[in-house]
Amino acid sequence: MLENIRLSFQGIWAHKMRSLLTMLGIIIGIAAIIAIVSTIKGTSEQIKENLVGSGNNIVNVKLYQGEWTYTSGDSSTPENMPMVTDDIKNEILAVDEVTAVASYRYGALYEGINSGTKDLGNAPVYGVDKDYFRVMGYTVQTGRLFEDQDWTNYTKGVILDTVAANTLFASENPIGKTLEIKGEPFIIVGVVEQIDGFTPKVTNMNDWYTYYGNTSSGQVFITDVNWPLIFSFDEPYNLVVKPAGTDAMTNAGKKTADIMNSYMPATSSENVSEGGTDEDSSSSSFKYKSEDLLETAKAMQEVSASTSQQLIWIASISLLVGGIGVMNIMLVSVTERTREIGLKKALGARKSVILMQFLTEAAVLTSMGGIIGVGAGVGLAYLISDVASVPVAISGAAIAISVIFSMVIGIVFGFIPSVKASNLNPIDALRYE
């Protein structure tokens, strides 16, 4: 076998130009497939990363009213919603996939957040618990975070994110200044920013409102105990959990939502439908749902994967054409070496020996094409990523499969010529001119 491989290399080397041209079909096919698979995999990983974030992944578990998240100030406060007590938090923390949990109230004010003459427009307001900033991954830029006494003393302090601080104060130091929220004065104690560049992808309007509709003018944080100063009493909470890892996101979110839902009043829809129309009551049932970005990422990856599959099929046509080229050149090679085959048979070579010799040569030829193709494909993938700024993820499996597949092409398309060679009659072969 090793000798056959050595002979094959000799034969290929003896006809460098011809071998290269023969390999070209295989090289192009494999290169195209590797390039496609690598860019698709890269894109798919980018989708996941964009949606899920790479570091401080968190899962929002929000209170939904039908299809929409509940926002304080938008509609009347639902009754008997569960408050997030320490007991509930501990129950959530007991879930394997959850490493941290925080709760917050979320409200929208379309006007009434201002400092002096400057208005913050429709910035969202968060009423946060003691764990919120830690779980969300906020750090202090200036000033301080809320401290325990801010909750116990109902301190009217407010924290801004960097966007809100810039909007209101530009280069001025905002610490100590007063921010009025719906006429209530709050003292600005700190400015925070999020550690991780979390750039969510938007798939629907709800996402847009959640991510960009809010962040355009910045975010405002107060302690949750001060929430009734601006909104109503007993406003419901949302939660944010930190999962054990990216793959734990789905379960962490779902289990947290399940726990919250188990504390929901059995007939919550009746409680809120007072005064509402029939239409309202049917769509106003409240429920906690996790905003599963991982699931969304998967769905988007599937779409991109199915597109890539079609591209791979097209690239495979090149492999078919390449295979036919290999068959053609092997037939030529058999004809050219008819005398050699005759001689070998006269010296006692069995059919199987001749068959193996030619099969090996075809397989070595296409495998070399495959290996060169992989190299070219990787290069091409990096080139595409450079030009189109798409990330590249070289797939080891794709490389291994490509090389094996190109070898199989050699064996399949080399089979007919090899059989032809092995069936030659030694005397006819020796006489061949």
Partner: protein, 234 residues
């Protein structure tokens, strides 16, 4: 008896015509004999040689080689017979151009599945025997005609065959190289190797113990001449 051909006929088909090439050939060769087959071109001597060498099949007749009934052999068995009982020397050497002298000589041993080390060692010994120990790694293109033919003889003898078949072994050589080759045959013959050789030269044929002639597909022993009507000869 090493080799026995009985009532061998060989016809070639040309278009719709069947052309007889060998007609009722009967030939016995004993172990250790040195036989020259002579005849003009087209007489059928090469065809006879190919049948003896098991690379062509007779249309009818029986062929016994070293107690093996060749016409009953399957493809695989024929390969074995060619490999182990027969050594072929061709007029135009038929060496593999891309392989060294050593690899060319070792080729039959590869088909006999001899381990590679032993193969190389045996091939080297054979090249020493034909006086080419210093040309072991030379490619055929780097060798002279006489050297090539000696490599071919080394290859033919490497598997210790029962019989050495040579088809015009000096046909492509100058007289000096031809002489060397014939001397080599003599040496082999003295060692007890059975040799059957085709030639059209009386000078070359004189090296052999026994001369048979083929004329128009019929075989004549010694100096016998064809008689109209086709007498039976051995």
């Amino acid at each position: 008896m090493l080799l026995e051909l009985k009532n061998i006929y060989k016809n070639y088909i040309q278009g719709t015509m069947e052309v007889p090439v060998l007609k009722d050939i009967n030939l016995c060769v004993e172990e250790g004999e040195y036989v020259a087959i002579m005849g003009p071109s087209g007489s059928g001597k090469s065809t006879l040689m190919n049948i003896i060498g098991c690379i062509d099949k007779p249309t009818s007749g029986t062929y016994l080689l070293d107690d093996v009934e060749i016409e009953k052999c399957k493809d695989k068995e024929l390969s074995e017979v060619r490999n182990q009982k027969i050594g072929f020397v061709f007029q135009n050497f038929n060496l593999l151009p891309r392989q060294s002298a050593l690899d060319n000589v070792a080729l039959p041993l590869q088909y006999a599945k001899v381990p590679i080390k032993k193969r190389k060692q045996k091939a080297k010994e054979m090249l020493e025997m034909v006086d080419l120990a210093d040309r072991v790694s030379f490619k055929p293109t780097q060798l002279s005609g006489g050297q090539k033919q000696r490599v071919a003889i080394a290859r033919a003898m490497v598997a210790d065959p029962k019989i050495l078949l040579a088809d015009e072994p000096t046909g492509a050589l100058d007289s000096k190289s031809g002489l060397q080759v014939m001397e080599l045959f003599d040496t082999l013959h003295k060692q007890g190797v059975t040799i059957i050789m085709i030639t059209h030269s009386d000078e070359i044929a004189s090296y052999a113990d026994r001369v048979v002639k083929i004329i128009d597909g019929e075989l004549y022993e010694g100096d016998a001449q064809p008689v109209t009507g086709g007498d039976e000869h051995e």
